[in-house]
């Protein structure tokens, strides 16, 4: 019995919905992201195996650790980033509810998704290069800008469902699909904040290559860089899955293969939105982003919450 439990837990962590699933799906989404971006810019774009080739190449390259670095942190941070994202995935429903579901797992997921960002900051900080240091300061500034709107946007559906449990929120929307259109402003806020979390184009100041070289990853080479890139791709999957569960009703009451197909379809849809945003917009300045997040996104999310409370009181 004990052995079986351990094996099952290992299966969850390593295969599905853990590292293997996240890595493959993350690479697929990364390719979709690059290919669609290319098509929208009138280009041909990379072939389907591109993210895989990048990963294998980086893993097989030399790892340089600069003398001035904090070696212990520098070496281990990429694995922490991957681990944080994988842990978050354990609490998000893929088909029949999440693996570890408890009251308040929405908060736990938000905290776990902050771990990669924290490792990005520490990565830039521990590599002691001026560019990396500027990049990591921007990572933190950006964190304070998008984290609040993201959190507020996710609170709306939680209030409507009367639960802090992601699976319960998804089930609530599956039972009452009519509530879904009312969440559109909150959903848009969450998508924009997710774009900031993933450091993608309008909000890619932390590693803006025309300004500060490689940002927080300036000094990273080989295997360590490969795992950081992997963590970012995985974060995209987890972010899309989170939005799918919280705003789009998860499996919509389906079970088995149908629910899994729906999961794929809807995460794909969220990524599509992210790609269009990335291609349409140019990079803004860091202080413009803070203003935008606090003056537009946060009040919008607040309005959504007030509206949701009203809706809940009115409809019981």
């Amino acid at each position: 019995m004990a052995i079986e439990n351990v094996l099952l837990a290992l299966f969850y962590v390593l295969i599905f919905p853990g590292i293997w699933f996240l890595a493959t799906y993350g690479m697929t989404l990364e390719w979709v992201d690059r290919k669609l971006g290319a098509v929208l810019q009138n280009r041909v774009g990379p072939p389907w195996f591109q993210p895989m080739a990048d990963f294998v190449k980086l893993v097989s390259k030399e790892v340089i650790i600069p003398k001035a670095c904090d070696t212990l942190m520098f070496r281990n941070l990429p694995y922490f980033a991957v681990a944080g994202v994988t842990a978050a995935m354990m609490m998000i429903p893929v088909w029949n509810g999440a693996l570890f579901s408890f009251e308040g797992d929405l908060i736990a997921v938000i905290y776990l998704l902050t771990i990669p960002t924290a490792t990005f900051f520490l990565a830039g900080w521990s590599s002691t290069s001026p560019y990396a240091a500027i990049g990591s300061m921007r990572v933190l500034t950006q964190l304070f800008a998008y984290e609040v709107p993201l959190m507020l946007a996710l609170i709306g559906p939680a209030i409507l469902a009367g639960s802090w449990n992601i699976t319960a929120i998804a089930e609530h929307f599956a039972r009452n699909p009519a509530y879904m259109p009312a969440q559109i402003p909150g959903f848009l806020v969450a998508v924009l904040a997710l774009q900031g979390k993933l450091e993608r184009l309008p909000f890619d100041m932390p590693h803006a290559k025309t300004e500060i070289v490689g940002g927080q990853f300036t000094e990273y080479t080989g295997r360590l860089l490969a795992f950081f890139n992997m963590a970012v791709s995985m974060e995209m999957v987890v972010g899309a899955a989170l939005l799918n569960a919280v705003f789009l009703g998860g499996g919509l009451g389906l079970t088995g293969i149908g629910a899994f197909a729906l999961f794929m379809l809807k995460t794909f849809g969220v990524v599509l939105l992210l790609v269009v945003l990335r291609v349409l917009m140019a990079r803004i300045r860091i202080e413009q982003m803070v203003n935008f997040c606090w003056q537009i996104l946060a009040p919008l999310a607040m309005a959504q919450i007030v509206f949701d409370i009203f809706l809940r009181i009115k409809l019981g």
């Binding site: 810019q41 009138n42 280009r43 774009g45 072939p47 190449k57 097989s60 490689g214 080479t221």
Partner: protein, 147 residues
């Protein structure tokens, strides 16, 4: 010829499919730089070969150098070359980088082109080079890896 193991084959395949380049101007007239940038535009779309322009030498596999090496740049180009992770390649773009070009023998230029300073894997002639020539040169360099 020694046959390669599967692991080596996969690694070589990945290197051929994903060369990340770093663009370095070692003192050129900017003609070649514009053409390298041109090769990266949607019209030529280098990303379909997996080529990406990387901002830092730490991430790059191929350093694309344009222009003659001025005396000021010798120290810097060596340093940037050392900052790149193995395996690394250098491509000399333009007549100047290949041989010194019209600037050869100038008081401020290191005589004899780029290969007197760092090891060069491929030479792409032209003044300035055409974007097609840059793409062709990089693809041929990568093709030679498979042998």
């Amino acid at each position: 010829m020694k046959t390669k193991s599967l692991k080596e084959k996969i690694i070589t395949w990945s290197r051929v499919k994903s060369p990340w380049i770093l663009h370095f101007n070692s003192g050129g007239c900017n003609g070649c730089d514009i053409e390298v940038v041109d090769a990266l535009t949607p019209r030529y779309d280098l990303e379909r070969f997996g080529i990406q322009l990387k901002p830092t030498p730490r991430h790059a596999d191929v350093m694309v150098v344009s222009g003659p090496v001025t005396r000021q740049q010798i120290k810097r180009i060596k340093r940037i070359y050392d900052q790149m992770a193995e395996p690394k390649f250098v491509v000399a773009v333009g007549a100047c980088a290949c041989s010194g070009g019209v600037f050869d023998g100038c008081y401020c230029v290191a005589p004899g082109g780029l290969d007197k300073v760092v090891p060069v894997s491929a030479y792409i002639p032209g003044c300035p080079v055409r974007p097609e020539a840059v793409i062709d040169g990089v693809v041929k360099l990568l093709g030679s890896l498979q042998k």
